[in-house]
Amino acid sequence: MPEKIDYDAKIPNNVNLSEDRRLQRALEGWQPKFMHWWGEMGPTLETQGVYLRTAVSVGREGWAHFDHVNVPDYRWGIFLAERDPDRRIAFGEHKGEEVWQQVPGEYRADLQRLIVIQGDTEPASVEQQKLLGLTAPSLYDLRNLFQVNVEEGRHLWAMVYLLHAYFGREGRDEAEGLLLRNSGSPDAPRILGAFNEETADWLAFYMFTYFTDRDGKYQLGTLKESSFDPLSRTCEFMLKEEAHHMMVGTTGVDRVVTRSAELIREHDTLDIGPHGGIPLTLIQKYINFHYTVSLDLFGSETSTNAANYYTAGLKGRWQETRRKDDHKLTDDARTLEKPAEDGTWTSEELQAILLLNLDLRSEYVADCQTGVKRWNKILADAGIDHTFRLPHPGFNREVGINSGHHVTPDGTIVDEATWQAGKSKWLPTTEDLTFVRSLMHPVYERGKIASWVAPPRQGINGKPFDYEYVYLT
């Protein structure tokens, strides 16, 4: 398997596409459909060139190459992490066996479903962020938006490659279906709920890239453990790119908090809305919303499907190989906290294998906590006595054991009326959203930035903040 990416090919790749006529034809048939989709559903704002990162090889050196690129000409392609010829299955009933280079017939439907669901989320966020370019707070942010968008596009390619290469005609049909469903479409919505929500403003974008893309990181992390080696290698490379999206989210929220802190100090009031800043309470509401919608993406706390996927070796746990247990989990137990009818929390002991979604979610929650700590440190350093918190995992949930219960951010189970009365304190209201939107004016001048967000501490690839990251018409 050559590591070097063949950039002369119509579709850049490191999978020897030129030698596989069937796959080449299939992907070349899909490519114009993808371009059409990008034209229809991709970023609205037209640019003359964006300073983008492109992979030229998957090794340490070559995967991040920077240059100005006309966005629709971005070379989307197929890059798999290098193959480890000794890799063995790390968990489930096939533990210890060689990993699979082909899809076992027995797991074909399950693997296809997993890939389709993962694939469906990738273009969805591009669609959700379609209009954001029109209100970017700086050229730096605009560039980051496009970077995230083209890479989500490439992640779609990654999943489509798998569908085309390993799942025959049905795989090709599913690959086409990924372009036919659209975020929020009344006729053919995206499969998962969170990907049909609007990303209407830049604070939402930062929150989305922090919380929702982070779910993506954990899902990819479990697929990286897959016994189906091409899926594992694809996800491994996607994870490298995904890390940047997290950075956009983490530093994005940082910068909003930093700017709000500045305005609070400057005007000596928490009510900084009139001064063009976003109040801390409103930031907390955004955290509450995006965090909980993202928790829903982990699915139900108890899941037979997840257990089946694990036993079969299709989808592992986060950092499976570092776990110190038998990697089969048939004899382990774990406790599940759940709301009771009488308004208290009870716990139930269940087989660990049935709680894999909860296991993954716990890893995710711990990770989300680090961002909150960061943001609180910014406030503390500015001498502001206010802290952000992640709400209780039972709060505002549509999926799993908490759905159907009313849980406040601090984890109290309340009745419908109390919940409704508190809702506007906990989640963004229409007025809140309108206010944030009112701040969203585009700033396309080099070195300038919108009133509600601080400039980044570092530019991209060592470039300064006032670098011309995006050439506009």
Binding site: A109, R113, R181, P189, T304, A307, Y310, T311, Q351, I353
Partner: protein, 539 residues
């Protein structure tokens, strides 16, 4: 799983937990909205509109009411009130936890309900349309298959599926396999692909393979379905108004007595002369008796699993039975039609009941015409040739009567009458019987005509019957079930006989095999995250 409280089958729409029935002129909407916590038995949650016997009992009640209470309804739209889920089928945890007989009885009842939906379409012009608005798997698709038309939401992700073979190691138990090829005429190779795919088939492919009839866009789905329903309603021949209310069941005409391994069902003939069918409504003898018999069969089947022999008796005046029968079979309007078909379906329920059925014809009984069908449905018939056992001076003698009702009104699942089935291929005998209708037949004549198994006299009667019943009860109940089902359905196969005979037999076998029900079987392992272990030998 065992229940301690007996299961009842009497339901009322305002007390449904799992369905919403809403009638809008000639179109009725039957929306599935299963209450997760509303399982009939403890120990499982009815997630994703999955169903158990309790859910199906309500569906059965709704289909009955639509026929009797809503003669104006020409189309019944079956859909889901939940978002993105039509129906996930029978609840697997319920099946996995159930005892064998419960699983089989559940399948039987759901089959009868599905057959009843098709019967409404065929014989009452009340066409069922499935509006599949989300995931539709297993028994969920089997509900859709029982409908005349299947409309599938075109959202690029909803599928129809029969995942039992790949996911559970069992068969779709409610006619899925049979209806796919026999009713919808899906090509057998495509049916094979379909039934081995756990993820099912969506969109255009589902239409191309004939698994569904039409795709309907997600936006405006309900309006489009309503419009289609009105179009189909226009093609229906059903006319009628002034439905009658199916009032709560009373046990006035059918009496049940259970003694450990034996149940006796006694049907009481009418006491009065027939009145106007519509005026009498649910109180009219024929309908009331049918409802009670239907209920009796269901309750005995579900709650009295060790009562392996059922003794069928009647008490009353044969003349009055025939007079009531005349108002139903001679009546030409929708209500007469409904009662006829309801009695037909109830007899069919008896035909497929896995109990030894023995009819005892004694002086004072009224096995005439329609009620004689009950005796003909039995595996054996004994007529007492002599005076009543407790009154040897009486001149009363047991008789039976053939009427027009025995010659086509109540066909069995194989499409034949019970007489055609009894005398299969013997047209001369059937012609002879036709000449013998409308008059009393004595015990000797009944023997000569081949209408009874034996005619013991009053000296032998008690011993003969006791020995016959005790002998029966000593045999393997499984072997009896198999033998009876074989003998009852001679001649041609129909969709119904395939479902009840062929499919149920296979399912029965598979349910007891270790590959499905063993500790490492697919049904037991389902939901544990562990994979089933199969014995790979093909049997």
């Amino acid at each position: 799983m065992t229940t301690t409280t007996p299961v009842t089958f009497d339901r009322r729409p305002d007390e449904y937990r799992h369905w919403r029935l809403h009638v809008d002129g000639e179109v009725a909407w039957l929306e599935m909205d299963v209450d997760e916590q509303g399982g009939l038995v403890e120990g499982y949650e009815l997630k994703l509109n999955s169903y158990d016997l309790g859910v199906d009992i309500e569906l059965y009640d709704a289909t009955q009411r639509l026929r009797f209470e809503h003669p104006e309804v020409r189309v019944v739209v079956v859909t889901s009130a939940k978002d993105k889920v039509f129906c996930a089928g029978a609840n697997i945890r319920m099946l996995a936890a159930s005892e064998h007989h419960w699983k089989v009885n559940f399948c039987k009842f759901t089959n009868e309900t599905r057959n009843g939906m098709e019967d409404a379409t065929e014989h009452s012009g009340q066409t069922y349309v499935a509006a599949v608005n989300g995931t539709c798997a297993g028994g969920g698709y089997e509900i859709a298959l029982a409908c005349d038309k299947i409309l599938l939401i075109d959202d690029n992700s909803s599928t129809v599926a029969l995942p039992e073979v790949p996911l559970l190691g069992v068969l779709p138990g409610t006619g899925g396999l049979t209806r796919v090829v026999d009713k919808r005429r899906v090509r057998r190779d495509l049916a094979d692909v379909f039934a081995t795919r756990p993820d099912g088939v969506k969109g255009k492919t589902a239409v191309d393979w004939r698994l569904v009839d039409e795709l309907v866009p997600r936006q405006g789905f309900r309006e489009a379905v309503a419009k289609r329903a009105r179009e189909i309603a226009r093609e229906s021949g059903r006319t009628g108004e002034g439905g009658i209310e199916l009032t709560p069941l009373e046990h006035r005409h059918v009496d049940i007595e259970v003694r450990k391994d034996q149940a006796t069902i006694t049907i009481k003939g009418p006491e009065n002369d027939p009145g106007d069918l519509h005026e009498e409504g649910a109180n009219g003898w024929f309908l009331a008796m049918t409802r009670e018999l239907d209920d009796a069969i269901l309750r005995l089947r579900t709650n009295e699993v060790e009562a392996g022999t059922w003794i069928l008796k009647t008490v009353g005046d044969p003349e009055k039975v025939l007079a009531h029968e005349q108002t139903v079979l001679g009546g030409k309007d929708w209500l007469a039609n409904e009662i006829t078909h309801y009695f037909k379906r109830t007899l069919k329920r008896l035909d497929v009941t896995s109990r030894s059925l023995v009819a005892l014809i004694e002086p004072g009984s009224c096995f005439a015409g329609s009620l004689l069908e009950i005796a003909l449905a039995a595996d054996r018939q004994y007529i007492l040739d002599g005076p009543p056992i407790d009154d040897e001076d009486s001149d009363e003698r047991a008789t039976i009567r053939l009427s027009e009702a025995n010659f086509g009104a109540f066909p069995m699942g194989n499409g034949l009458t019970r007489l055609q089935t009894r005398f299969y291929g013997d047209d001369d005998h059937l012609a002879w019987l036709a000449r013998e209708k409308d008059h009393e037949l004595s015990a000797a004549e009944a023997v000569e005509l081949g209408l009874v198994t034996d005619a013991p006299d009053d000296l032998d009667w008690e011993d003969e019957i006791r020995i016959a019943l005790e002998g029966r009860a000593s045999l393997s109940p499984d072997a009896l079930t198999g033998m009876e089902a074989n003998h009852r359905f001679v001649g041609p196969e129909t969709i119904e006989t395939k479902i009840f005979g062929r499919l149920a037999a296979w399912q029965n076998w598979i349910f007891t095999r270790p590959n499905a029900s063993g500790p490492e079987g697919a049904l037991r392992r389902y939901g544990t995250g562990q994979k089933a272990v199969f014995d790979r030998k093909r049997v």
